[in-house]
Amino acid sequence: MAENLLDNEMLDSYRELGTPEEPDFLKKFLTTFIDAIPAHLERIDVAIKASNFEDLARASHAIKSSCLNIGAAAIVERCAKIEANGKAGELGDSAKLYGEVVELCGQLKAEIHALPEFRAGA
């Protein structure tokens, strides 16, 4: 497996946002994050197939923006390139990058599910 994607320092700062009323803030935050990813990935896939550059830029920006908040630099970097392609009105290497993003999102999901908050009984 590649280098860890999650930024633990960043996650710790979110853990501290838990309150007595909502002790599992981090879990809720990451669950919401993970749940939103498939729709964005699908939008990128569809945009690549349809050469819809505007949507390509927007969907890749959405993943980039969300991944920034958990420190997933490898995904951010690739989505930024796809976004730049979209803004330039070209596909370039978007399909290849998209494949890598899909793989990295899988890794990211596994890392999230390995966090203490997501282990059985947590």
């Binding site: 700062s13 994050f33 939103a36």
Partner: protein
């Protein structure tokens, strides 16, 4: 009475909405909109102390949205902080050139973000107390472009004014008891580069007087000169910037 600052967050990422809500907890009243069109609807419906605006939304560009807002007198002073993943220097410069209060680049660093927003809210709160005129039972908030009348029970009831009516009332209130000429009112409300007929002023004054209703504060014509705002002399209290 809800005295918490109100913030409109225009941001499509649900986890970022959650994060911002968690950062401020119950200290602020946070309203979220996932699109620019929803955000515009919220802004037209009520007044917010501050807007946190993403740069790229599903239905458009946050920067273009902000530029349009600025062209509308109703929102010309609206406090906006960009909260965006867009790091280009051109975007930052454009945001500040349009009058953004701050520019926060994602990822959200919790403590810094909270400190920035709170500092802005403190500044706005201080500015607001400087920008409110109270004339008798009238309360004119020049920061928010809104006018209110205090009811017998002490509550504030909003007087819905057009931007020109608001500017005229604000000018008259600032010089309470003094006569302002029609030319002076034209210059204040429309600026000096537009040709406005004096009877246009009279028409707006007429509408304004109707909206002010039967309260103690009256706009009085002064023959051959202009208008003045008179409050009942005993209850009149004026807080001016």
């Amino acid at each position: 009475v809800n005295n918490r600052p109100s913030i409109l967050l225009i941001e499509d990422a649900p986890e970022t909405q959650l994060l911002v809500r968690a950062v401020f907890g119950t200290e602020i009243e946070l309203v979220t909109s996932g699109t620019l069109s929803e955000g515009a609807a919220q802004l037209n419906e009520r007044v917010f102390d501050l807007v946190l605006l993403d740069g790229t939304l599903p239905d458009g560009d946050g920067f273009e949205f902000f530029a349009k807002l600025r062209q509308n007198p109703k929102f010309s002073r609206l406090a906006v902080i960009f909260l965006t993943a867009r790091t280009a220097i051109n975007d930052r410069v454009a945001a500040f050139a349009m009058g953004a209060e701050d520019y926060v680049v994602k990822p959200i660093e919790v403590r810094e973000f909270r400190a920035r927003v709170e500092a802005k809210l403190r500044k706005l709160s201080a500015g607001e107390s400087q920008s409110v005129l109270e004339i008798g039972t009238l309360r004119i908030d020049r920061h928010r472009f809104r006018a209110f009348r205090k009811t017998a029970s002490g509550e504030l009831s909003e007087i819905i004014l057009t931007p020109y009516e608001f500017k005229i009332l604000s000018a008259l209130a600032e010089k309470e008891g003094n006569v302002l000429s029609r030319d002076s009112l034209i210059s204040t409300a429309w600026g000096d580069s537009v040709h406005v007929l004096e009877r246009t002023v009279d028409r707006h004054i007429s509408s304004l007087r109707k909206k002010l209703g039967s309260g103690a504060e009256k706009i009085e014509p002064v023959h051959g000169v202009g208008y003045r705002l008179n409050a009942s002399s005993i209850s009149s209290k004026k807080k001016a910037a």
